[in-house]
């Protein structure tokens, strides 16, 4: 095999290998997970986070605007503290409400942001004060049965 033919084949091999890698990164995987764009961090305390997990999407009006980066437990207030990053392109007012919602009946849980009407915007490191906890199915059923029994 001559040197040029060898180089040609190896070049072909490397190019289709790289093309396969690009296909995997962009077409199969969402490259957005790389999080290269500028973003800022907010936090929100919750009474109950249900099944929310790190890396869960943060959505506003159904559009993904960020990701949950850290979930911790505050031993003084006995509440869960969820830290999440929001894309720097989107600013939210101070009276934004953070809610833990479920996509579909049995889908994954995500953090929903409902923008308020305040003129001041949330800055990096701020805390979202108004939060609504996850709906825990057992509590809901228990309450329903309690109400039924009271009738």
């Amino acid at each position: 095999m001559s040197r040029t033919a060898l180089d040609l084949w190896v070049g072909f091999f490397v190019v289709i290998g790289a093309a396969a890698l690009l296909f995997l990164s962009f077409k199969v995987g969402s490259f957005s997970g790389f999080n290269s764009g500028p973003s800022y961090v907010l936090q929100a305390p919750f009474d109950n986070i249900g099944g929310l997990k790190v890396r869960a999407p943060v959505k506003s009006a159904g559009v993904v605007v960020g990701r949950v980066s850290e979930i911790s437990f505050d031993a003084e207030t006995y509440r869960a503290v969820v830290r999440f990053t929001v894309d720097a392109r989107y600013a939210f007012p101070r009276d934004t409400i953070a809610t833990i919602l479920t996509s579909g009946l049995l889908g994954e849980q995500y953090l929903g942001l409902d923008a308020g009407g305040d003129i001041d915007m949330l800055k990096d490191g701020d805390t979202v004060q108004m939060t609504q906890s996850a709906v825990v199915l057992e509590k809901l059923i228990g309450q329903f049965m309690f109400d039924k029994a009271a009738e």
């Binding site: 095999m1 060898l6 190896v10 290998g17 890698l21 990164s25 199969v28 490259f31 997970g33 790190v54």
Partner: protein, 264 residues
């Protein structure tokens, strides 16, 4: 009454032998890395090995990837439609291929297709005393023969694994969307929502790089270390395939337990 000491002695001898070989392999690995710079100065040697271990493995990798994807598509659909979630077929196919099947099966195929060939070549060179002749002419056989084959394997393995995965996803798409009739949009969009670049794709690539290093090192080491007889070469080839397969599966478990701990 000497049965017990004999058994103990044979266990001890095997342990010592095993540890000795492990140490020898480690020193050999360091030596290969040291001579790599020297061998990269003659890059066409490595490119030649890329051709032999990479380009010539293309066919088996692509065809196997396609068939693995086809089977995944059929079996995945069969199971998923019981739960009424056949739209998630893309997720199932893509995640199982990028995380596990792509690197592992490509690694096993690579070990038996390219690793065994490398061992046979180096072993035969040793048997016919070509390596000694090189040493006599002040040409380092490690820089001239071993390092290019090692790097050829290390470089081609991730590319082959990526091709295997891409081909498998194409196979899954072919069965799921074209033949069974899963919705095309749901197939791709659910896949894109579930497959993360760093968590899934990049970890799969890291796995394939590690497998490439392990398989290439085992192949060149077994060839270099073989008993210089016809039987010795054949045993070395068998050992290459067996220990590569074991190394891939064991390393896969270790890497998976580090990468995917289920916290998602």
């Amino acid at each position: 009454m000497s049965a017990l000491p004999d058994i103990l002695r044979s266990i001890g001898a095997r342990t010592v032998e095993g540890i000795w070989r492990l140490g020898f392999a480690a020193r050999f690995f360091v030596l290969v890395l040291l001579y790599s710079g020297q061998s990269f100065r003659r890059l066409h040697l490595t490119i030649r090995e890329l051709y032999f271990s990479g380009v010539l493995s293309l066919l088996i990798i692509l065809v196997s990837g396609l068939f693995v994807g086809l089977v995944l598509g059929l079996q995945g659909y069969e199971t998923l439609q019981r739960f009424g979630s056949s739209d998630a077929l893309g997720v199932l196919v893509a995640l199982s291929l990028t995380r596990e099947l792509g690197p592992v099966v490509a690694g096993l195929l690579f070990a038996s297709r390219a690793g065994s060939a490398v061992t046979a070549e180096i072993g035969l060179m040793k048997t016919t005393e070509q390596l000694k002749a090189m040493d006599m002419m002040a040409v380092s056989p490690i820089a001239r023969v071993v390092a290019p084959r090692f790097w050829g394997g290390v470089l081609s393995m991730p590319l082959l694994a990526a091709l295997f995965t891409a081909m498998g996803i194409f196979g899954g798409w072919l069965i799921g969307v074209v033949f069974i009739g899963v919705d095309d949009g749901a197939f791709w969009s659910q896949m894109q929502a579930a497959v993360d670049f760093r968590y899934d794709v990049l970890n799969g690539v890291i796995k394939s790089v590690v497998f490439g290093i392990a398989v290439s090192l085992i192949a060149v080491f077994e060839g270099y270390d073989c008993t210089p007889t016809a039987e010795g070469v054949s045993r070395a080839i068998t050992r290459t395939v067996v220990s590569s397969a074991l190394a891939i599966l064991a390393l896969d478990f270790v890497l998976t337990s580090f990468m995917f701990r289920g916290q998602s």
